[in-house]
């Protein structure tokens, strides 16, 4: 019987009730007394010099309360990059100031350079249009193509950065010569040039922010669509506006998806706060979807050449990559780490390859900032590896399953240190591959292919075996690598006097289901009903200082902080129980919600202990403080390493080039599972996004920097009809060895493992259909690209 309660149960999500009845409260759902409306004026050119902005017409329009331009913020701080990356020669990255509102120059279409605040949204919008008309911006040549950006030293996104290069990073630079030599001497080298297509995250809730200022106390409040309210508070307060951190509360209420795009602090948040202070009234802003396309941090956008050197039998000798990564016009908060340490360190995959070298040149262009999007660097690494392995198998006539098997790190090799610096603690890559082969019924493929052929379709099967580093991150390690923050998390467990429990978490749920799953963990550990546990998140005035949710870290870092706090609660409860039961503390055991004296029937319930802590009449006050509330911070000893094997089957219509994903099988190892239903949902969503990247999504700027894919009419989001049911298995479980829950994280897996499985399946279908000249098709593998490849 599956469990119906606590850890491992598929408890239904309590948050669903409010979402299903229209009673969720997202930022834009709030109405505040005296509220005003901000509208931003955004650049219509990709690159331009601001010659003048005449604000007087807009300022005198009906309802207009205030107008802001870059000039108003030129003396406050910039929105900083969270990681300092050094180039191969040891010089630090180029780090241009990212102003609250563009000042001097505009650097991408959608770059906000002014804002209008008015009594109504319509009035603010009308005045913003006037302000745009009254702005004199001299258009400069746009820098869009990365290679041209680096080659053309005279045209600069930032005037002080001569070659538009943020850094030229090598990992690990000391290994470069050995890797070069190994490739030169290898019996076979497969080379593949590929593009990891630029994506727009497209959380369904557009970004929104409300600023408030309370003149009586000097306090500020920012309600905003954030994945990490404390980090946003730190950035706004300490780095940008110079507000004392304790005078600013940041609330991230119900948030409608993030996928990375809501990790970062954006200038709009600073503007609504500054405007709220100026007007002493709430100032609200909600992005239109068109603004989201133009100004949310985008994802991916790598151009990579990868070389795989191997023996003739497919034994890997070396991987070497050269990547150009587009960072856009400014450095978003995680933009510098995503193409480097979140990408290069995964370039050994789950393989025992002795030589790996990664070079990444990160380039400024006149496009929206690019930053971490679901998977963040790891999908790029996985795609490069799994595509080049597939190509190598075709070149040498080898079986892709056997080649993986031959090269996998084996279970007797853990802990295993890769040549790119990670120490995998545990895993079983053969087990997940075998499971994928089983659930995917690989043996029955030929019959399915024949059936597809009868219907005129080319059927193909693609494999991807992936690994990622989650549970971001050990602070001491990331500090050495250039992180400017710690990456622990925190939780407070407050047992109330009546025995029910409030848990305040640094992690933030914007779809992941923390309110349910964290409650399951607490209920299991304390032997109380899930319903008596409340999870509180998203409000910096209530929660301890945690770093929020991204990088599949919520459970593996914050979840562990919750268990650490519970351990403290139990330890204190034992002291209280020992006193009440007149026994020695070491004789007290805690099980199923009851403190008892070992070997006797003397016991106190959890509720009785809680009550005693708050009504300490019979209590060891001389040695123990009253109350039952504990906080724990948890800084992980290592990353966690989920891994898995994905098999995709596609049907290709050779006449039209259309690709249908007809089956998708996932065999994942996430370590221990807290809520299987939620885990499956996370994988489904990730695979859906991965299929979107592989088949339909693309972000296209024209040569002048205009975004051609700026709405859902141009940017092809996957729809219900574009994807199949997914087959998800998580029965292969090698629990993480360094956290007490044994969990690894599951949020990004689907988006990491799926794109290469899809593309490999398409290439397989074409080869089986006789189109063996097709070596590669860049994502998105659209009908026109497939058709052109066939007729290439």
């Amino acid at each position: 019987m599956p469990k119906d309660h606590g850890i491992g149960a598929s408890s239904k999500r309590r948050e669903d009730i409010r979402f299903l009845t229209g009673r969720g409260v997202y930022t834009d759902d709030m109405n505040l007394h005296g509220q005003t409306y901000a509208v931003f004026v955004r650049s219509q050119v990709a690159h331009g010099r601001i010659k003048s902005i005449n604000t007087s017409n807009a300022a005198s329009m009906p309802g207009v309360l205030a107008v802001f331009t870059g000039e108003d913020f030129k003396d406050v701080g910039g929105n900083p990059a969270g990681w300092l990356i050094n180039s191969r020669d040891g010089t630090p990255m180029r780090e241009p100031k990212r102003p609250v509102l563009a000042h001097g120059k505009v650097r991408h279409v959608g770059d906000a350079y002014a804002a209008v605040v008015a009594e109504s949204y319509a009035e603010a919008k009308d005045a913003a249009e006037q302000l745009a008309a009254d702005s004199d911006i001299e258009e400069l040549p746009a820098i869009i193509d990365m290679a041209a950006a680096v080659a053309n030293a005279s045209n600069r996104v930032h005037d002080e950065i001569p070659d538009n290069l943020c850094y030229d990073w090598g990992w690990i630079e000391d290994n470069r010569a050995a890797v070069d030599a190994a490739i030169k001497a290898a019996p076979h080298v497969t080379v593949l040039e590929l593009v990891n297509n630029r994506l727009v995250p497209n959380a369904m809730e557009p970004r929104a922010s409300i600023g408030e200022y309370f003149p009586g106390t000097g306090d500020y409040k920012l309600t905003t669509t954030s994945q990490n309210p404390h980090l946003t508070r730190l950035l706004v307060a300490a780095f940008v506006l110079g507000i004392p951190e304790n005078k600013l509360t940041v609330v991230a209420p119900d948030v409608g998806g993030g996928f990375g795009s809501k990790i970062y602090h954006y200038g709009e948040e600073a503007v609504v706060l500054a405007a709220a202070k100026k007007l002493a009234r709430p100032v609200r802003w909600t992005a239109e979807r068109s603004e989201s396309f133009l100004s949310d941090a985008h994802g991916r956008d790598h151009v990579t050449k990868i070389e795989l050197a191997c023996e003739k039998d497919g034994t890997f000798i070396a991987f070497r990559t050269e990547t150009m990564a587009n960072v856009g016009a400014y450095l978003s908060n995680f933009a510098t780490v995503t193409p480097t340490f979140l990408h290069g360190t995964l370039m050994a995959g789950p393989y025992k390859v002795p030589n790996v070298y990664v070079n990444v040149k990160t380039v400024f262009t006149n496009t929206a900032p690019v930053d971490a999007y679901r998977g963040a660097g790891r999908p790029e690494a996985t795609y490069s590896l799994e595509r080049v392995i597939d190509k190598m198998c075709r070149e040498l006539g080898l079986d892709p399953f056997e080649v993986r098997r031959k090269n996998f790190i084996t279970t007797d090799m853990f802990p295993y240190t890769t040549p790119v610096g990670l120490a995998y603690d545990t895993g079983n890559y053969h087990a997940t591959l075998d499971k994928a082969i089983e659930i995917g019924n690989v043996a029955g493929f030929e019959a399915r292919r024949a059936a597809s052929a009868k219907r005129g379709k080319l059927r193909g099967m693609g494999l991807s075996t992936w690994i990622e580093a989650c549970g971001i991150a050990p602070s001491h390690l990331v500090g050495v690598l250039g992180a400017r923050v710690g990456l622990y998390d925190a939780a407070t467990v407050r047992v109330n006097a009546t025995g029910n429990i409030s848990v305040m978490t640094g992690a933030h749920s914007h779809g992941q289901g923390h309110e349910t799953v964290f409650a399951q963990i607490v209920a299991e550990k304390l032997g109380v009903p899930e319903a008596s546990v409340e999870i509180v998140h998203g409000d910096t005035s209530k929660i301890p200082f945690g770093m929020g949710s991204y990088g599949s870290r919520s459970l593996a870092v914050c979840g562990v902080a919750v268990t650490k706090a519970i351990d403290k609660i139990v330890a204190k409860g034992k002291k209280i129980a020992a006193h009440m039961l007149e026994a020695a503390e070491e004789d007290i055991t805690f099980e199923n919600g009851s403190f008892s004296v070992a070997g006797t029937d003397k016991a106190k319930t959890f509720g009785e202990i809680a009550f005693s802590a708050y009504v300490p009449h019979n209590y060891p006050l001389e040695t123990l403080e009253p109350g039952l509330e504990e906080t724990a911070f948890y800084d992980p000893a290592n990353f966690t390493y989920p891994a898995g094997a994905y098999i995709c089957e596609v049907e290709v219509d050779a006449e039209t080039g259309k690709v249908d994903v007809v089956a998708f099988h996932c065999a994942d190892d996430f370590g221990n599972i807290m809520n299987p239903m939620v885990v499956e949902g996370q994988v489904h969503g990730g695979v859906g996004q991965g299929i979107g990247q592989a088949l339909c999504e693309n972000t296209t700027y024209d040569d002048t920097g205009q975004l051609l894919t700026g709405s859902y009419m141009d940017y092809a989001m996957p729809r219900a009809g574009d994807v199949p049911f997914y087959n998800v298995d998580y029965s292969c479980q090698t629990p993480c060895t360094h956290n007490p829950l044994g969990v690894k994280g599951c949020g990004e897996a689907g988006a990491i493992g799926s794109p290469p499985a899809v593309v490999n399946a398409v290439i397989d279908a074409l080869h089986r259909g006789g189109h063996t000249h097709v070596k590669h098709i860049d994502m998105p593998v659209s009908p026109s690209r497939v058709w052109q490849a066939i007729h290439g």
């Binding site: 239904k12 999500r13 948050e15 669903d16 009730i17 409010r18 979402f19 299903l20 009845t21 229209g22 009673r23 969720g24 409260v25 997202y26 834009d28 759902d29 109405n31 319509a122 995250p201 497209n202 959380a203 369904m204 809730e205 557009p206 119900d254 409608g256 998806g257 996928f259 239109e288 979807r289 659930i439 019924n441 779809g511 992941q512 289901g513 089956a663 239903m677 499956e680 949902g681 489904h684 969503g685 990730g686 695979v687 859906g688 996004q689 299929i691 709405s711 859902y712 009419m713 989001m717 996957p718 729809r719 219900a720 009809g721 994807v723 049911f725 997914y726 087959n727 998800v728 689907g750």
Partner: protein, 161 residues
């Protein structure tokens, strides 16, 4: 400003609107029914789907004045009389058909319109009908499963191929 009256979730309501006020804005700002969400500005995402005289429409695409006198139903009107989740809502919870919840009201309203037209839809019918509702969290798997389950069909074999 013009006065507009209609019935929303069985209740007679009225309010002052401009000619350009969209139904979505009237519901959200005029009536405080913020369950209807606005996720795009091109009538693509479907988060704002409501029923007008029994038909699913995108409330960001009609003016409030254009539906004067109509019967409008929103996500706030989908629960049972006793406040418990309606059949479709319950199926969404049972089958984890939502994550962040933002697209959910539109999904539920579209699903209700589908099942009113086609009480026993196939998987393909559901996927086709939901073409105008975008979800970024679920990969649609559990949404499709929930809608099939809400129609009374057995979904225990889904994806256990």
């Amino acid at each position: 400003m013009t006065k507009v009256s209609m019935t929303v979730n069985g209740r007679a309501v009225s309010g002052e609107v401009e000619g350009r006020t969209l139904l979505s804005a009237f519901l959200r700002e005029g009536l405080g029914l913020t369950g209807t969400h606005v996720g795009c500005d091109t009538s693509q995402c479907g988060a704002c789907v409501v029923h007008v005289d029994g038909k699913a429409i995108k409330s960001c695409t009609v003016f409030a004045m254009d539906v004067a006198g109509a019967e409008v139903r929103t996500i706030e009107g989908m629960a049972n009389a006793d406040g418990s989740l309606g059949t479709i809502q319950q199926a969404f919870q049972d089958h984890h058909g939502l994550q962040c919840g933002f697209c959910t009201p539109g999904m539920v309203m579209s699903a209700a319109a589908l099942l009113a037209e086609n009480p026993k839809p196939s998987e393909a019918d559901v996927r086709h009908y939901l073409d105008g509702n975008i979800c970024r969290c679920t990969g649609y798997h559990n949404i499709v499963k929930a809608v099939l389950a809400a129609s009374g069909q057995d979904v225990s074999a889904v994806a256990a191929e």
